[in-house]
Amino acid sequence: MNTPKKIPFLLFLTFLLVGCGEDFLNVNSRERVAAVDQEEIYRPDEFVIGVYGNFTEWEYAFSWLGVTEIISDNADKGSSPSDTGTDKHLLDNLQFSSTAPSIQAMWTIWYKTIGRATNAIEYTESFGLSDEAYKNRLIGEARFLRALSYFYLVRYFGDVPLQQEDLTQRVPEEEVYEFIISDLESAIASLPLKSEYPTDELGRATRGAAQALLSKVYLERENWSEAVNYADQVINSGEYGLEPNYEEIWREHSENGIESIFEIQARGESTAHGVQQYSQTQGARGPSGWGWGFNTPTQDLVEAYDSEGDEIRKNATIIFAGETLWDGREVSENVENPRYNEKAYSSANAGAADSDKNIRVLRYAEVLLIKAEAANELGNTGAALDALNQVRERVELDPVTTSDQAQLRRAIWKERRLELAFEHDRWFDLLRTGQAGEVMRAHGKDFVDGKHELFPIPEEQLRQTPEMRQNPGY
């Protein structure tokens, strides 16, 4: 055998006989339909709906109660003493740590909402919609929802990461606010007025909602003139007014009504899609009850109403044991807690897992109070009194007449508490106005100055991004 001459042949045989190229390695998918073969194309609106959808998560039905009201002087944990609601007792007593599940849950849900918004914005921008106005509206909606989520984050945690930039670094509060303001300014420019939406689209973010939120952001920043400016834009838009009867603000028929600026939408009929168990967690507990009985109004809140002689708002806000509700439902004397949150009560769905209760996030009365507070700080007492007394007039309270700036400030703060109780704003107000330490200690809770102004960065976050700074005191 003349072997050497056969070697090239052998090599050829070995290396080329089996055509092992990319074709061989490119195997067709059989188990699942490959992306290229998928016919479904998502419309940009679907991703925008997905951003709204995140506001219907369980976090808003339970954790949210803990970090906004239970923690404050407005509400107690409620429920049975043995039912802690995982950490609601710790929030109630200001004993929470960085592993508190409620704080962790809210931190996460806001960032997930921000993520959905950013994705929706990017998807909408690149999708190739021909209707510019529609495209800008969708982007504006997502920006509004993103700004709302960042606004919660920055007020609770101070410096927080800007998701688009770096997940491991907290950026100064100032930059977060700049981001929020730019999102809202852009939303104001591209969102339609409430009246410009078709009826069946009501509930989407409007120009008025973005203006109202921006006004609230400026109030938080103590930029009084901009706060007044944006409040005035809402007030002068002619889109909004006060619901004549305070207690009817939380009825189904006034959802997205004249006073409504932004609400989280919910549906009680099958297929029900509410803010999860928002009505159930706060429903009366025990005989005749329909819920878990969390987030119950404090005696202190009752006294606050009484000191003002404010029967209308007290009765609209609080369900008392033994009372017969406006729809005829009798609440037994023997329910477990003396008081429950009436603003969460759904007549049609009561303790159903998904109720029709829309959560009022921004309403016209608050814009009036923002204007009142900011105008007072600017020394414009007349405008302040005018706005404040519009709110008082509805609930049949005497007008405030003081022209003393400090007194008026106190009056407006108190008005906010009574008007907006259980609308998830009390803790922010206490912190913003610097009253938190004084009020909470008077309320018997150990508020530590220099610590409790901010929440701890959740442990689950720090565990994965250890270089992120913890807030002082935790």
Binding site: E22, G50, N54, L167
Partner: protein, 1052 residues
């Protein structure tokens, strides 16, 4: 029960073992008379060493047979051979083996020359073989005797403790397969199993191969050795070579063994009175009712649940050949019955390996074919769990024949499900009767595996060959599960009646929960093939010895499909269990999936060169492509390796050294890959229900459907392993003592993790990504001593020790969120963190027991703490006990393992003992920890419990909490005698019967461990996933011990 087993085994004997037993008897009868007709030829002589000194104990065998003798103290031998044309083989440790044809002579004197090198062992290196002494890499070899010395279903079981660097975690359930880890865990989620190559065919496991068919197993441990299998070698390569025909006249081997199996390490549970005390103490603390002191039943659930298992194994093989053909045919049947009722495993294998030489030996054809058929009736291991927890106060059966349940009259404190007026009937706990889980379970799985390879080797010259090899494996399985829902429902409460069930059934038409029974069937088939072509050039030029291998390989895996279906209300009798006979009142469910196959393509080359068997260099380069990475089209990767060796003992300056017989230094470096990585896809979530993708708008509140992104798919590619190895091999004292020492460092550079998205990231779902490094470094030492004291007495002792340190390093920012080790009650026990081993324990540290309520009030405690509960350390001293106080406690994977193997031959007796131990790990007693109220406890926990202030500050009271803590984390070290065998071979009394050996063997007779559960050997769920239940005892099958009797008969 035992009697039943016996009947069972008789039944099996009747069907499967009889042919072999008949064969055994026939062999005796047929060949017995032949004795007197045999041609007799006697050879004698003396064997001397190179200096003319007589050598005692030299083995002399007739080539191709097992007939032989050995020299006496004067070096003299005498042997009767069948034919004067036979060849004699003279072998002795430390000397070159010589083969001398008799050529009709009666006197043959021989001078043996010392072996210039250690042994002449050949190892398989992948696409070829190599002399052991020429290796530059780290390869361990195990041969047939070591594998078959103990009876086992798969070969890997018997290898525990025999090879350095190989950690085998056994599972003693019938049909159970061990987990094999070579040199530590390198991957968290990718394929963790080593690659098996059976006669050149890559496969996932070797469960279909009878251990007695295996000639040898080679473990390619370091990168220099394994990189020839580049793309799948990251977890090591195990090469299995099955037996070939021996050539010559047919030789029969028949063997059979049978034995009984029982629990090795049972745990004593509290009895009736102890339980009552424990229960009452617990209930007193939480304000529950009290049990009356006198109760009717005292059930030992493990006694009721466990049966004696058995193992029967029979094998027969024939091997022989002529000038152009060698053949090997074998048949094996293995039957196991487990510790639970009707828990069985049965496997038959048939193998035929033939070798043909054509055209004057120019073409060599190898053909291997094996068929393996198995049937398995598994039982749920959850029964072990329930038996642990159920109270001894519950009867197995009530007098009326109904299953016992933990019903108790809370008013009288007496057990029972009936009560007078105003009396409350409650339950002691939520568990059922352990026997029902077994009684109503009806599963069966049948499998058929066809595996074969055909290879042709063309010898162009004596130094140039071309080999083409085609291999394939076809696997079928069909399984079914029959669930008598109605009977189960009735059995779970003695007050339930069939009428009640039927009423509910009528009220819920079409609701499958109320069907009489359900039948689930699943068929699955898979096929894989590979085709390798390579040329080998092997030539020596003067003192330059070179070998060059070049080739390519292509492979297609996972071609197949699965079909499954569920039907309801099929007839009760097993013969009618067809989906088609299910009732039309219930919707049948049918699923069918074609698997997406994957393909692999590789080009490889290897050069092995040595100068004068002193200086060695091996270089390997492999280029691999895999369809796994089709989404990025980044198919290809290079895997190089290089190995160096220096045999000092062949140097001139060492030639005068009498002490050292062999000394070699080795070093290697290489890169290996793992392409068995998880599938990664972007999921967009949508829903038509109430989900957070959807929202409502407008007064009509129309539900609008939206979408959100789960997590985007990352571009996942090869897991790459880089490995360094340094080793030394040495033989001293006339090669009686041989030792090898290896150091290695193995780094998985880009390990794939299941990443929990950061809370502040946009993504909601966990996703896979490369996220860190895993470093395994270790030392392996092996020491073998063998000696022949006289021709009648020889022995060998082998010890080995492997140490491996595992550490996760360089975890990507934000990727440290992986947790695992869930106990099924919401508690987790493991977490990933940089600087810790893979799968590290992470939990609260128990630091005592709360003695008083006052103590709890004045110290940081977890919510709900009560006196008698464990007290956890406030690690960060912030006054609050929360997750930040959890700490790491090492790993469940042993840091070190060691084996000791002893063999002794004295006259006709042979004795062997293998022991195996591990240490440096911790295991978690989940059975003891995850306790809800009212369950039974171990006697040990009962006796040492906290009973009030000052009683103990270590052990919790009857009322304890179920949080995961270091209290339940125990030392996982153990030492076990794996096998003791004593054999006796009959003297050669019959000509055609070359060997008859009887033996008795004890498997796992002794276990030394401080662990309080059933077994410290815990593979866990999901094939040993480090973040699954590996190292946690929850429903694990206990270790078992087996006493076996067996016989081996060799005929010719």
């Amino acid at each position: 029960m035992l009697f039943n087993n016996f009947q069972w085994s008789q039944k099996i004997m009747r069907y499967q073992h009889i042919p072999i037993i008949i064969l055994t008897l026939l062999a005796f009868l047929l060949f017995l008379p032949d004795q007197s007709f045999g041609q007799q030829h006697t050879v004698q002589g003396t064997v001397n060493d190179q200096n003319g000194e007589p050598l005692p104990g030299v083995n002399i065998t007739v080539k191709g047979t097992t007939r032989g003798t050995s020299t006496n103290s004067e070096g003299m031998y005498e042997l009767t051979v069948p034919s004067a044309s036979d060849t004699l083989v003279f072998s002795f440790i430390g000397f070159e083996t010589q083969e001398i044809p008799i050529d009709g002579r009666n006197m043959i004197d021989v001078n043996l020359t010392p072996a210039t090198l250690a042994g002449e062992e050949v190892v398989v290196v992948g696409y070829g073989t190599q002399q052991q002494e020429d290796l530059t890499g780290s390869i361990s070899r195990i041969e047939t005797e070591e594998i078959t010395r103990q009876s086992s279903l798969t070969a890997m079981e018997s290898l525990q403790g025999k090879i350095t660097g190989v950690n085998v975690i056994n599972n003693d359930a019938p049909g159970g397969t061990p987990t094999v880890i070579l040199r530590g865990l390198g991957t968290a989620l990718g394929g963790r199993n080593p690659l098996y190559i059976v006669d050149g065919v890559p496969v996932d496991d070797i469960n279909n191969i009878s251990p007695s068919d295996i000639e040898s197993i080679d473990f390619l441990k370091d990168a220099s050795a394994a990189s020839i299998y580049g793309l799948r070698a990251a977890n090591g390569v195990i090469i299995v070579t099955t037996k070939d025909g021996e050539g010559g006249a047919p030789q029969f081997e028949v063997s059979s063994s049978a034995g009984y199996t029982s629990v090795l390490n049972s745990v004593e549970m509290a009895d009736q009175q102890e339980y009552i005390t424990y229960f009452n103490e617990e209930n007193a603390a939480i304000g529950g009712f009290q049990l009356a002191p006198s109760q009717q039943y005292n059930t030992d659930w493990y006694d009721e649940l466990l049966e004696t298992g058995y193992v029967i194994d029979s094998r027969a093989s024939v091997s022989g050949g002529s000038e152009n053909v060698n053949y090997f045919v074998s048949y094996n049947v293995n039957q196991e019955k487990g510790l639970l009722d009707e828990q069985t495993f049965w496997r038959q294998t048939l193998r035929n390996n033939n070798k043909y030489w054509l055209f004057n030996d120019v073409v060599e054809i190898d053909q291997n074919l094996s068929i393996s058929v198995s049937r398995e009736n598994p039982q749920p291991f959850s029964a072990f769990n329930t038996a642990y927890r159920q109270s001894p106060l519950v009867p197995t059966f009530y007098p009326n024949g109904r299953y016992g349940q933990p019903f108790v009259n809370e008013t009288t404190g007496k057990m029972g499900y009936e009560g007078g007026e105003g009396e409350a009937i409650g339950r002691l706990n939520t568990h059922g009767n352990p026997l029902t889980a077994i009684a109503f379970n009806n599963q069966e799985r049948n499998t058929v595996t066809l595996q074969g390879a055909l290879s042709a080797k063309i010898n162009f010259t004596d130094y140039l060959t071309f080999t083409s090899r085609l291999g394939g494996t076809k696997y079928y399985s069909d399984s079914r599960t029959f669930n008598p829902l109605k009977q189960g429902w009735i059995a779970s409460d003695p007050t339930r009646t069939a009428t009640q069930y039927e009423t509910s059934k009528a009220e819920n038409p079409g609701v499958t929960d109320w069907a009489d029974n359900s039948l689930f069937v699943q068929n699955l088939e898979r096929f894989r093939w590979n085709w390798d072509n390579f040329i080998t050039f092997d030539k020596s030029f003067d003192r330059h010895n070179t070998e060059l291998t070049l080739g390519m390989s292509s492979e297609r895996i996972g071609v197949g499909s699965t079909f499954s279906g569920t039907a309801y209300d099929v007839p009760q009798q097993e013969q009618y269990w067809n989906l088609n006979l299910g009732s039309d009142d219930y919707e049948k469910q049918v699923n069918h999936t074609n698997f997406t196959p994957s393909t692999l393509a590789s080009y490889f080359g290897r050069i092995q060169y040595n100068y004068d068997q002193r200086y060695y260099i091996t270089g390997t380069l492999r280029r691999d492509g895999t369809s796994q990475f089709a989404n990025t089209e980044d198919y290809w990767e290079f895997f190089p390796s290089v190995g160096l060796g220096w045999t000092l003992s062949n140097e001139d300056f060492m030639s005068d050294n009498e002490f050292i017989d062999f000394l070699k230094l080795r070093g290697s470096w290489g890169r290996l890959g793992n392409q068995n990585v998880p599938l990664n896809t972007t999921v967009i979530y949508t829903s038509t229900g109430s989900s957070s993708q959807n929202y409502v708008f407008g007064p009509a509140q129309t539900l609008r459907f939206g979408a959100s992104v789960g997590s985007p798919a990352r571009d996942i590619s090869w897991e790459i392993v880089e490995e360094w190895n340094a080793g030394v091999d040495m033989e001293i004292l006339d090669s009686r003592l041989s030792t090898s020492l290896d150091f290695y460092q193995k780094t998985t550079e880009n390990v794939i993790l299941l990443v929990n998205p950061l809370p502040d990231s946009p993504y909601a779902e966990s996703f896979y990504d490369h996220g860190g490094e895993v470093v395994n470094q270790g030392v392996e030492v092996g020491l073998d001593w063998s000696n022949s004291i006289s021709e009648e007495l020889s022995y060998n002792v082998g010890v080995n020790f492997s140490y491996n340190q595992n550490e996760v390093t360089n975890v990507a920012a934000g990727y440290e969120g992986l947790t695992g080790g869930g106990l099924g009650n919401g508690q987790i026990t493991k977490r990933l963190e940089e600087g810790q081993p893979l799968g590290a324990w992470w939990m609260y540290e128990a630091e005592g027991v709360w003695q008083t309520q006052e103590q709890i009030d004045n110290n940081p405690s977890l919510g709900g703490a009560m006196p008698g509960h464990l007290r956890y350390r406030d690690l960060n001293e912030d006054g609050v006990i929360d997750e930040r106080d959890k700490r790491f406690f090492g790993s469940y994977v042993p840091n070190y393992n060691y084996g000791i193997n002893i063999g002794l031959n004295y006259r006709q007796f042979d004795f062997s003992m293998d022991g195996f131990g591990v240490g440096g790990n911790k295991v978690y007693n989940g059975l003891n920890n995850t306790r809800f109220g009212g369950e039974n406890t171990t006697r040990d926990m009962f006796e040492k419990r906290w009973t009030g202030e000052g009683s103990t500050n270590t052990h919790p009271g009857a009322n304890r909490d179920a949080r995961a803590s270091s209290y339940y984390l125990e030392d996982g070290a153990y030492f076990r005698i794996n096998n003791i065998t004593l054999g006796y071979s009959l003297p050669e009394i019959i000509d055609r019967v070359s060997r008859v050996r009887f033996y008795v063997s004890a498997e796992n007779p002794v276990l030394l461990t401080g662990y309080s559960g059933f077994t410290p050997e815990l593979i866990g769920s999901d094939n040993g996933n480090p973040y699954g239940t590996a190292g946690i005892e929850l429903s694990a099958y206990p270790n078992t011990r087996t006493l076996l009797f067996g016989i081996n008969i060799d005929l010719k």
